[in-house]
């Protein structure tokens, strides 16, 4: 994907003059929509996401015969409004995305920087731990952890942090290796900066574009992991609206009410895609090498 940015016009001293890439605009817009839904869910959602009404179960979306006005995307097997549940589901998805991904990013990047910069013994230990972590299928690891520490939002977040810090650690460590060999690090050393100062003031800012791109990608991964855990019924309680929980219910009644599965799936699909593309777009835009 980097080729697109490289072929883009490079004239002008500052990146600010370049128009925002389309994918940054599109993905950013969608993420903003999801964020607004999450924050203002009680004002936006047309119905109570938990209100059951067995007289209104499995209503189809508005354009199909048999739909009820006000239930735009239909209802699920218990007569709960699908649209309202998707809007409330954004709250849990984004909470997990921001909290879990940020914590994993801080821990993983810090360890990656330290291991990549100081090498030696520290690097040996960090690398062995990463090797061990890489030996587990991440989804199975997550399911196992949540089963062990108990279900609930906190457990889901904790499991994602415990498992996914290595994504940051591996990449940041490799990136630090590259940076340390560059001339500016030597210059800083000649200028008399201490090693810690060089690491924080010189090396770290140069790994930031990579870290930011990974962070955005990880937010998408966190949303998926939460959905998967909800799908196998190990996330938060089944009544609370989560996209994964809705998908799990939709999977069982797929032949009678496809909309229970399709709409949360679209929300999940677009959100994950947007986090990935947003990260890539940011990386292209702020990568100092490309500017």
């Amino acid at each position: 994907m980097a080729d697109i940015a490289q072929t883009a016009p490079q004239s002008g001293p500052a990146h600010r003059r370049r128009p925002l890439p389309l994918r940054l605009v599109l993905s950013g817009t969608w993420l903003l929509v999801v964020l607004i839904c999450a924050v203002f869910a009680p004002f936006i959602a047309p119905h109570d996401p938990l209100a059951q009404d067995l007289l209104l179960e499995r209503l189809p979306p508005f354009w199909m015969a048999g739909s009820e006005p006000g239930y735009y995307l239909g209802t699920d097997g218990l007569g709960r409004d699908v649209l309202s549940r998707i809007i409330y589901g954004a709250r849990i998805a984004l909470t997990v995305a921001f909290v879990a991904a940020t914590a994993a990013c801080v821990i993983g990047s810090a360890l990656g920087l330290i291991a990549g910069y100081y090498r030696g013994f520290v690097d040996q230990i960090v690398s062995r731990i990463v090797d061990i972590w890489m030996s587990f299928p991440p989804v199975l690891f997550a399911i196992l952890l949540v089963a062990v520490i108990g279900t609930g939002l906190h457990s889901v977040i904790l499991a994602i942090i415990v498992i996914d810090w290595i994504r940051f650690c591996r990449v940041v460590r490799a990136e630090t290796f590259v940076q340390v060999k560059l001339d500016y690090v030597d210059s800083a050393r000649v200028a008399g900066f201490s090693r810690l100062t060089i690491l924080i003031r010189e090396v770290f800012p140069n790994t930031l574009p990579t870290i930011v791109a990974l962070l955005s990608l990880e937010m998408g991964i966190a949303v998926i992991v939460e959905a998967i855990l909800s799908f196998v019924n190990l996330s938060i309680s089944t009544d609370d609206p989560t996209w994964g929980g809705m998908i799990a219910e939709g999977r069982t009644i797929i032949y009678f009410a496809w909309w229970v599965l399709v709409f949360p799936l679209i929300a999940l699909f677009l959100t994950v895609l947007a986090f990935g593309q947003f990260g890539e777009g940011l990386k292209d835009r702020f990568d100092p090498v490309l500017q």
């Binding site: 030996s135 062990v148 799908f231 196998v232």
Partner: protein, 336 residues
């Protein structure tokens, strides 16, 4: 000599990794709240019965003692007895492994075919709309994980346009005259192509879901690798000899571009196999991953340990083989 030292170091670190894996698997499960023994007995069982059962499963000893007893047994191939199925864990796990291996292998073939195909198209029609399209496809296939592809496939080719089966490994009505659990392989060897088709109809959607992200990785790597090769002298030579562009790419450039792609794909293979856990669940495919989730839900500690260890050993082995191949095949490392 350096290569030999590298290989020895790699084998030592692999041993450390495996020991770490064993410690983690054991530790994670032992800190689990909830008593598996309590779940096996009817309510109102006497303390004596509970104690007897605890001793039977070795749960009355100290943690460290339990770990080394367990590790010793594991090294002798004894993974204990499943609490929920009440059979030998190794037997259960090995019985399910073929289903997962066949699914992963099919996915790998699909991923390679799509990946190489896309890279070829993007190179053949480079700097046209086709190359841009391939980039966009790669970007989407990479950002969206197998779980979502699986659901999208179920909706498209299972429900909206039902041409494939959406659950199970094989139709339960079919009579399987097989001696092994490698159904796909055995159906081919025995010329039972009716069963092969039935199996494929169940496997094709989970396999594609697993394959798409890997296909994008292969396509991206091979495409950039081809881009480099296309400017090499021997490719220019083939072109001046008057060979058509398609042949130049397929024979001269591809041959040299595919090796680095293959070594880099190795690590990605573990991600594909890891993906089988949730994909098997989604498609109710009777493999190891589906069994693992059942084991977690039933708190079947010996079974979970067995499955996780088997996955870990598989992953460690793949990573080791990829690293060794890379060392052996890369001339710069060999002579360096």
């Amino acid at each position: 000599m350096d290569a030999l030292r590298g290989i020895l170091t790699r084998i030592v670190t692999t041993a450390i990794t495996l020991f770490g894996v064993a410690v983690i698997v054991f530790a994670v499960i032992r800190i689990a709240p909830g008593d598996p023994i309590a779940m096996m007995l009817p309510p109102g069982a006497s303390d004596e019965d509970i104690a007897r059962l605890r001793a039977l499963y070795g749960l009355d000893k100290s943690i460290v003692e339990q770990f080394f007893i367990w590790l010793g047994n594991v090294l002798h191939g004894d993974f204990g007895t499943s609490i929920s199925i009440r059979q030998n864990v190794l037997g259960i796990v090995l019985g399910r492994l073929p289903a997962t291996l066949e699914l992963s292998f099919l996915a790998l073939i699909i991923a390679s075919t799509i990946g190489v195909g896309l890279a070829y198209l993007a190179t053949r029609y480079r700097e046209t709309a086709a190359e841009g399209t391939v980039d966009v496809i790669n970007g989407i296939a990479l950002s969206v994980p197998d779980f979502l592809w699986g659901l999208a496939l179920i909706l498209t080719f299972g429900v909206a346009w039902p041409i494939f089966e959406i659950s199970g490994r094989v139709s339960p009505t079919l009579d399987l005259p097989f001696t092994s659990n490698f159904y796909l392989l055995e159906s081919l060897v025995r010329f039972r192509f009716d069963i092969t088709l039935n199996l494929l109809s169940h496997m094709i959607m989970p396999a594609i879901a697993l394959a798409l992200p890997l296909a994008a990785v292969i396509s991206q790597l091979l495409k950039s690798s081809l881009k480099e090769t296309m400017n090499q002298d021997y490719v220019m030579l083939a072109r001046t000899k008057g060979f058509p562009e398609s042949r130049v790419i397929a024979r001269d450039a591809m041959r040299n571009a595919i090796l680095p792609t293959m070594t880099l794909t190795g690590v990605q293979l573990t991600f594909l196999i890891g993906g089988t856990v949730i994909i098997e669940r989604l498609f109710s495919y009777e493999g190891l991953g589906n069994l693992a989730i059942d084991a977690v839900i039933n708190r079947d500690l010996p079974l979970i340990q067995g499955i996780v260890l088997l996955f870990a050993v598989l992953f460690v082995a793949i990573n080791l083989i990829v690293d060794l191949l890379y060392t052996l095949l890369n001339p710069r490392l060999r002579h360096g």
